[in-house]
Symmetry: C2
Subunit: 234 residues, 2 copies
């Protein structure tokens, strides 16, 4: 008998893989959604098609077939990407389009999955970004996509949002996650301000169990100083 059932959207990414692995050590049934399989997961739901509505259809039909009437304790959407560029950049529209597809599409589909399969009192966690709480002139496409995720979180936390009763939707807002890619591209940064992926996975598990869970609709900053992370509700 599993401790519970969770889905990780972006389960093959750096943070996603850490979450899949961590929840498996806690005896959860773990499903992974993404463009490639995570062999540590109990089930994989592949995203292969083009448009947002096609991806939703592809993902929701697979998940419905696997789960049937079983409900989920939590859904974590940790899919995402990064691109820089201001309005003078020739790649402005390209980066806005890519960021939308990488951050907002999975977040909207995860919201739909939550409406369909999350148990009463369950948890949906999306991934925002602290810089998007204000303007981000050097990374316009990234900033606006994450701002959309923030407002989506606030919508899901409101009355009659379509989420199951007593469930909680929130977004984590990291500064910088301590991923291999970030280590590679920002090799000279101060890593003591970066948030470890294990911390996020542990936090997700605590919230899944109802410990220290922020209120519905919360934007939750992850603030790391001297390698110690605290979460601060905006």
């Amino acid at each position: 008998m599993a401790a519970g059932r969770v889905l990780v959207y972006g389960g093959k990414g750096a943070l996603g893989s850490t979450c899949v692995k961590f929840f498996k050590t806690k005896d959860y049934w773990v499903g992974s959604i993404g463009h490639s399989n995570n062999d540590d997961a109990d089930a994989n739901f592949l995203v292969t098609t083009g448009s947002l509505t096609d991806q939703e259809e592809e993902v929701t039909s697979q998940v419905a077939e696997t789960l049937g009437e079983l409900k989920l304790d939590a859904i974590f959407c940790v899919a995402g990407g990064w691109a820089g560029g201001n309005a003078a950049s020739k790649k402005l529209t390209e980066s806005a389009d890519t960021m939308w597809k990488q951050s907002v599409w999975p977040s909207v589909i995860a919201s739909r999955l939550a409406a369909l399969h999350l148990k009463n009192g369950g948890l949906l966690a999306l991934t925002g970004a602290q810089p998007s709480l204000a303007g981000t002139p050097g990374m316009i496409g990234y900033g606006l996509a994450k701002a959309a995720v923030h407002q989506l979180t606030q919508s899901l936390g409101g009355q009659k949002s379509g989420m199951p009763p007593d469930s909680v939707a929130l977004a984590i807002l990291p500064e910088t996650l301590d991923t291999p890619m970030n280590r590679k591209w920002m090799a000279k940064a101060d890593f003591s301000t970066w948030t470890s992926l294990e911390f996020v996975a542990e936090l997700f598990e605590k919230w899944t169990c109802g410990h220290d869970r922020p209120v519905n609709g919360s934007l939750v900053k992850l603030v790391t100083r001297d390698s110690q992370t605290q979460f601060v509700v905006v």
Copy 2:
């Protein structure tokens, strides 16, 4: 000799048509961008293609060919649409996708046009929505798209955003605009709280001339009571 040159993105819509007409009465050269021509405009730039990057290429190449080295006094992006639906709606992803294309695509392309063709000290006005300052559980796709426009505005108002020196980017945040469609669909509403399209067009013209222009990056609420409208910077 024209009083100045402005572009209206969405120049065939209700607000757009009013703006085109108003600026013509003030002797401006007016270009209209949209899916169909506005015969009142001096020039029309048609949007016919599919993707965001294709639309950008289509619009920027036409505008560049027409303007050459001439600069614009202002760009008004008043393209947009509306769709309801919460997370339980089967049409959640469809409405998010449509709202993104109708509100965010034109706003991003208008930002690119501003970086390329706005004069120093020029004005870019985008269109947000007051409800998106918080969650919008009954209209999730609409809310998140407008929230993206708000954060885009803040980005454009920041340092090194790629906008021309001394130019101002802002967004108007209406509650309800007094359009024929809104009259049709909300026939029993209190129209004395709706903002007239002529008010918006006049305000745009004042701001274009530099009168009462809010600071760069402003989100500007349009608040109408007893048929009188004030603008309030958030």
